[in-house]
C-alpha cells in the first residue's frame, strides 16, 4: 500500500471510530481512485465535515460527545512503518463498504439546511409533534431517516432506516418531507445530489415532571 493510501486508511479508521463512539450513522465511502493520493481528498474532507456536523448537533443538545483519545491507540503507529509501506490498519470493511454516505462521486461541500445545523434543529423541534397514540402507549425512541438533497435543494427519497413504531416513523417521515429547500451539496463547483441522515428522538417527559407540554422533549434530534 502506498504512503498516501496508508494515511487515508488510518484517517478513515479514526473517522469510523469517532462516529461509532457517538452513534453517528457513517460508512466510509468506497474509494475508486487509482494510484497514489495525499492521504486525503475532497470526498474524505466532506466525510470529516459530516461527522463534525453530527457532533455539533449533539453538543447543541447538551449531549456529551466522545472524541478526545478515541483513537489514541493509533498513536502507537510510527513513521517507519509507513515509510516501509508495511502499515496495515484494520480498515473496518473499507473495501467492502455498504451503502455510500454520498450519492455524488466527490462532494466538496455538504448540503446545508437554510441557516445551518442549529436552524435545522429548531425546525425539527418546532415542527415535530408527538403522535397521540405513541404518547398514550408510552412509546419512545430514535427514528433515523435518510433522504437525498437534490441539486435544486429539494428533499427526495426519504426513507426510514431505523424504525421505532409506525406512528413515530410516520411523524419523522412527515417532518423530514416538510422541510424547506436546502442549500445543495457541491462537487467541482456544481450542485450535486447528496444523501443525508437525520436521527429524530422522541422522548416522553418523566412521569413526575410537568406533562402539560407533551410535544417533543428538547432533544428532538441527536
Amino acid at each position: 500500500m502506498s504512503r498516501g493510501k496508508s494515511i487515508c486508511s488510518v484517517l478513515k479508521t479514526i473517522r469510523k471510530q469517532v462516529a461509532d463512539a457517538n452513534g453517528i450513522v457513517y460508512e466510509p465511502r468506497e474509494c475508486h481512485h487509482q494510484g497514489d493520493c495525499r492521504g486525503t481528498c475532497p470526498a474524505c474532507e466532506a466525510e470529516v465535515r459530516y461527522i463534525q456536523q453530527q457532533l455539533d448537533i449533539r453538543r447543541q443538545l447538551g449531549k456529551a460527545v466522545a472524541v478526545v483519545g478515541i483513537s489514541a491507540s493509533l498513536a502507537a503507529l510510527n513513521s517507519c512503518a509507513i515509510d516501509n509501506e508495511s502499515l496495515v490498519i484494520p480498515a473496518t470493511s473499507v473495501e467492502n463498504s455498504a451503502p455510500h454516505m454520498l450519492v455524488g462521486d466527490v462532494v466538496e461541500d455538504m448540503p446545508e439546511f437554510p441557516g445551518g445545523s442549529q436552524k435545522l434543529l429548531e425546525y425539527l423541534k418546532e415542527n415535530t409533534h408527538y403522535p397521540e397514540i405513541a404518547e398514550k402507549n408510552g412509546v419512545q425512541g430514535r427514528v433515523v431517516v435518510t433522504f437525498v438533497v437534490e441539486k435544486d435543494g429539494s428533499i427526495t427519497e426519504a426513507k426510514i432506516v431505523k424504525s421505532v413504531d409506525q406512528s413515530l416513523d410516520e411523524e419523522a417521515f412527515r417532518v423530514v418531507k416538510s422541510m424547506p429547500k436546502w442549500k445543495p451539496g457541491m462537487c467541482n463547483g456544481e450542485p450535486t445530489r447528496v444523501k443525508y441522515t437525520v436521527p429524530i428522538t422522541f422522548r416522553l417527559p418523566e412521569s413526575n415532571e410537568d406533562t402539560t407540554d407533551r410535544n417533543l422533549s428538547p432533544s428532538t434530534v441527536d
Partner: protein
C-alpha cells in the same frame, strides 16, 4: 504579526509527536547545517506564505477531529521555530485545549524564547546534533554553548519524559564514538529519551 512559513504539512502519523500531527514550518534559522533538510528556510525566496497566529490556526483547524481523537496536534518546526516564540505563544492561547503541541528546535536561541513557550509545549524534540563543540561548529558553522545552556535550563524546568534528544550520525562529521560521548554527557545532565539515527545524504 505575520510570520514567514516554508510550509504546513498535514497528517504526519507519529512522525514528530504522538498521533496525527500537522507540521507548521517557519522560515529562518541561525544554523547553517551542511546537510540541511529544508534549505528553503534560509533562502529569501523560500517563503511559502506569511501568516499570523489566527491564520495558522484557521489553516490547521481542518484536522481538529483527528488531533483530538488521536491525542495529536501541532508540531512547530522549520527553520528554527523558537525564533517565532511570540507567534507560537499567541497560537497556543487560541488553540483548542485538547491539542498537543510539540516543538522541533536546535535550542540555538536566546533563553527568553524557550521560557516564553515552555508553559504551552507538551513535547520537545531537541536536535542536539553533537555535543562536541568542534564537531558542532564544523557542521553548523556556529557555536553550541548557547544550546548547552538552554539544555540545562530545560532539564531543570521540564520533565525528562517530555523531551526527546536527537543524536544523528552525520556522515563525515561524527562517529559512533562521538555519538556515545554526547549521549553519556546528556544522560549525566538528566536526559533519558534519545533518538539516534543516520542522516541519509541524497
Amino acid at each position: 504579526m505575520k510570520t514567514p512559513l516554508i510550509g504546513i504539512c498535514r497528517h504526519r502519523l507519529s512522525t514528530d509527536g504522538q498521533g496525527v500531527t500537522t507540521l507548521v514550518a517557519f522560515h529562518g534559522c541561525p544554523l547553517r547545517c551542511r546537510y540541511c533538510l529544508n534549505e528553503q528556510c534560509l533562502r529569501p525566496d523560500g517563503v511559502w506564505q506569511q501568516m499570523d497566529a489566527q491564520q495558522i490556526l484557521d489553516e490547521v483547524m481542518i484536522d481538529d477531529l483527528y488531533f483530538k481523537a488521536t491525542s495529536g496536534g501541532v508540531t512547530f518546526g522549520g527553520g528554527e521555530p523558537l525564533l517565532r516564540s511570540d507567534e507560537i505563544v499567541t497560537f497556543c492561547q487560541l488553540k483548542p485545549a485538547d491539542w498537543h503541541i510539540a516543538i522541533e528546535t536546535s535550542l540555538h536561541v536566546d533563553l527568553c524564547h524557550l521560557q516564553a513557550v515552555a508553559p504551552y509545549v507538551d513535547h520537545y524534540i531537541i536536535d542536539v546534533k553533537d555535543m562536541n563543540p568542534d564537531i558542532y561548529r564544523r557542521y553548523t558553522s556556529v557555536d553550541n554553548s548557547q544550546v548547552i545552556d538552554n539544555l540545562r535550563w530545560l532539564i531543570a524546568h521540564v520533565e525528562s519524559q517530555k523531551i526527546t534528544i536527537r543524536l544523528p550520525h552525520i556522515p563525515d562529521y561524527n562517529t559512533p564514538t562521538d555519538i556515545a560521548q554526547s549521549r553519556t554527557q546528556l544522560e549525566s545532565m538528566g536526559f533519558t529519551n534519545f533518538d539516534c539515527f543516520d542522516y541519509v545524504i541524497r
